[in-house]
Symmetry: D2
Subunit: 353 residues, 4 copies
């Protein structure tokens, strides 16, 4: 039998996240073909090409964006490049799947949304938790009223890796609350159907203390306390790097019950010995923890390009998560809670006063 | 063989907490004898006496405090009575086990501590989590460095019961953050060995909304964000009443790993059916959840009276938990974080500015 | 207030099981007094007395049995002594709590039952699983029909200790299937309300191979396959010694669902580290695993003596468990399944043909 | 970029198992193309084609076997057809992935193995547990000595569906012990690296009693007790249909510890309510339980055809599992344990004496 011509996808950024997406399009989605994985660093580009068993490497992003074999792009490069790449891709008529955080400022996010709208392309945000089976099941249960009216939400993300040095610079990255906890902000909004109205944050640098020499404002632990519309209370915590692995869990308390989402355990095995007790494997990486989520997210992107679906996670969602992160950053700076929505402040100093 | 003469214990307050303690002295601790359970309400006193299979009921607290057969008292009455009862008991030479919160003000707590010191009696605070096996094991693991240096702590308490109407009045009670979360404040201090330095709180009334008609400041959900000495971050949340049962858990994150304490599950059974999936029983009451903790706490009180031990939980501990609760209350009123230690403000308005 | 005179209990046998019972009567049951813990070995007797903070040691069983301060005895000595001690105790008018297995032969068990009946004393078998909260909850759920009609039962017991050398001799002990799996045979009968009708067993010596030099028939692993009335299928497995700890679990399959009883985990704590994954403590000893069960069993014995209750586990129950163990032993010898009930064969060779 | 020409796979049998495999080749493995799903029943063929979004339906197996676009076939038809289809496919030069049980007799299995060998094609058995991540991790741990020397193994399989009426006839099917527990026999061999030496079985019909009217020998519950080389003890139990879902778990006991494989829980979510306690979803179907295993198995088949791998599960493995099932059947008939290896008896009466 004949198979329909696969959708051509180019991944921009040859790092870890880029390769996760690229593997999906290359090996797991017959409806897609990996057209390119491009990185401006020739070494990274070559390594990515080899890992993915491609015939050549790509370092010229503009050439890839002009390639007619490319139907959509996945932006996995550092945050400060998102706006330029997304706008270019939109103008080249390419659909966009953009990694988080969306951009450095709300103004930039607005420009990305506008560019996609004008070009008539999809702008999908890469919040893969929305595609992870247990998060979807949890949302279904909330909607069915299993736990009653929502009262409290707790969401946490912890990961093993120290962010790369470029990300320590707040003019290039928005720090952990955006790089890591963007997923929590989005998941809270998506699961509750409510927007943030107030955010307070406390942070500390307790593990990677050597970074303080270069960036005195650096932190590796954060707790964000928030209110949602209707008074629902939220706590989000992040820690990165943690040594024990990757961890993403939620707990949602309602008037009738409590709902747990996620588990530290990665696999249904266990060993009991006298020395240890019961030992069960935990997740060591987000690649394993959200393998299904990433794959479903990438399939969804392909389905949207094929016209079978419309994006479940939009640029507007990316902007909302960004706004929450910016509010947390402002709270850290001022020592005060911050009310939302925030005003768009322009780009010079970010959106943070 | 002969058995030593049991220590005489009187329980003041015939409510639920009082009866839990009374049952321990009556049925589970051969070294103790329940000398009385006294309540100023004759109906409650009679009911308690019957439940405990006692020959008579007691309503006269002063008579009990003067009874030479009484070596120690357990104070389980409403918060606003603690100071007077503790001071009286101390002056009568009785050892004291006092339920939380210790008092309404720091000044009152200081007077209780002083009275016990002057009388040379023990003043033990009833933070039974410190006597619960899993909390003790957790503390041991922290001290052994299993999870490395501490970075974050989460503690939560949720309970099924709406507080009694007297407790809605802030001049008689300090509300949920003191009545319920006192245990969390103490457990955090005890497990980490660190004091609170800053506290921020958000609260909402989301379930028992009818109480708002009588007490507009009433809340049934709270999230407290805090810092400890050394920058350790803390989040404590409380919710009361919750419908699903009683729940008390902690999660402590360190540089090397994470430690969980407590479980919603009450028993090692499970049933799988098509309609439900895997179903396991949860705790419905603090009486079951902390049965072992209460018993060990009461044994400890007896052992202290017998001179075999010295109190592991002191009046100073009670005062520290109270201070944290007062700071949370002040944060709720001002919408700002509150630094600790707080100044003693006198009694007229509580310690809260 | 006055407390009623405690019931006097003597524990016969100063070993581990004897001390577990003795501690309960000594420290945890105000209605009981530990009158003696007696062992014919002076060293053991002295050690037990010291551990239990008694004023003297006892080595003369007969004297203890004649002591009017003794209302009941707990028999915790080796199996081959049970019959003589139980008959003597009955004739002395003492109530009896007898450890498993009941005796070496069905004829001996019958004589014990007759002696107790004639003397009008209670003969309670020490099947403590019946008093363990999770086993009781499981039985309740089965009776309520939660899992429908029963189809299969699995029960297992594994323990850390190599049996003492006297127990390697089959003329003094009936081996692991009786010493250890008696609990499983009883629990299966009790939970299902059905008797065994056929038993097949396979055994092997896979760990304590050095014992084979002395006792070529020794085994440390066994799997018993059985049928109950109505065709319900059963598998019971035992292993002793195992290195990892103590383990007792059941799984009951019914037409509507499956029911799990017991857990390897001993406490609601867990630690996650990179090196280990999630680690949770397991039970290392039956003393911890069935602490509540032993205490409730001993309370029940006291309550029966006080006339507040009648024994829930009788001599007849002990005889049934013994019969199942004897059938398994016969199956091991013949390589064939054995039908029950078995004929009483007299004592010369045990009841095993 | 160009993608290599996909391997053509035809699935023989349009039932549930056939469609699971077909979906993998159709939607999840870019290196494969689903060339056909063929069923002799036109209705089933049409339904399968529609479900898989194919342009046409196939009912002519011979035509498919002759199609040069077909590189390999997956045999998912009833057991009694396996031999003829496998031999035909081998002679047509097609690689074979064969569902369990392999055949009705050992003689037939031998002929299938010979045909594949002569034709130089792969004959892979569809024991997908070997490709399920938790089973692979368990095997790795056993090989690393985590639990020491093996002593006991327990394996169970329970499934929701009553077998189709054709399978009640023992001349067409070998019943549950082969249809269902083949997976257990294989998993035990694979995890332990040991062969079965003795098998005893007990069975009963306790749920689908109406089938007894047509097939008096029908059973829906079985417990198999076995010995492996070296004396390792095994118990395998099966139950089908069970109402609660699909369940496949193992427990392996070694001298140093115990290893658990599999879980009833299907997803990392949980809800606690007062009415139910903690509720977590369980697997309702083997399609969900072994989704990853089926996909990895099918990928492995493609990789073998592409010369990247050699089959990890061979015809010899299929024959061994069949032999164990036949021994269990003989034990049921004779009421006696059966020693292995069994003699090949020819086909007239099966291999069962």
């Amino acid at each position: 039998m004949t198979r329909r011509k696969p959708v051509g996808i180019a991944v921009i950024g040859g790092g870890r996240a880029g390769r996760v997406h690229a593997r999906n399009f290359r090996y797991h989605i017959p409806d897609a073909a990996l057209a390119a994985i491009v990185d401006t660093d020739p070494h990274t580009a070559a390594e990515a090409a080899q890992e993915l068993e491609l015939e050549r490497a790509w370092t010229d992003v503009d050439a890839v964006l002009e390639d007619p074999a490319v139907d959509g792009v996945v932006i996995t490069t550092p945050t400060f490049t998102h706006e330029e790449l997304a706008v270019k891709a939109a103008r080249a008529g390419k659909h966009i799947l953009c990694e988080k955080p969306m951009a450095l400022t709300l103004a930039a996010a607005d420009r990305m949304i506008a560019a996609a709208r004008e070009a008539g392309v999809h702008l999908q945000m890469a919040f893969m938790r929305r595609f992870s089976p247990e998060f979807r099941a949890a949302r279904q249960q909330i909607h069915e009223g299993t736990i009653g009216e929502l009262m409290q939400v707790r969401s946490l993300t912890r990961g093993p890796g120290l962010p790369p040095p470029w990300a320590w610079d707040e003019s290039l990255s928005l720090g952990m609350v955006a790089e890591v906890n963007s997923h929590d902000f989005d998941a809270v909004r998506w699961l509750t159907g409510r927007e943030f109205t107030r955010i307070y944050a406390e942070a500390a640098c307790l593990k990677a203390r050597h970074v303080l020499n270069e960036q005195p404002a650096f932190y590796d632990n954060i707790i964000v306390t928030a209110r949602l519309e209707g008074g629902v209370l939220v706590t989000i915590d992040g820690s990165c790097p943690v040594e024990y692995g990757y961890d993403a869990r939620m707990e949602i308390l309602g008037t009738r019950g409590v709902l747990f989402v996620g588990d530290v355990r990665s696999m249904a095995t266990g060993v009991v010995t006298r020395e240890q007790g019961l030992v069960q494997p935990n997740f060591s990486s987000w690649r394993d923890r959200f393998r299904e989520g990433y794959l479903a997210e990438d399939r969804h992107f392909v389905d949207c390009i094929l016209g079978r679906a419309t994006p479940e996670v939009t640029g507007e969602d990316g902007r909302r998560a960004l706004e929450a992160a910016l509010a947390a950053i402002q709270s850290l700076r001022t020592g005060r809670p911050v009310d939302l929505p925030m005003a768009v402040q322009g780009d010079a100093t970010g959106d943070v006063a």
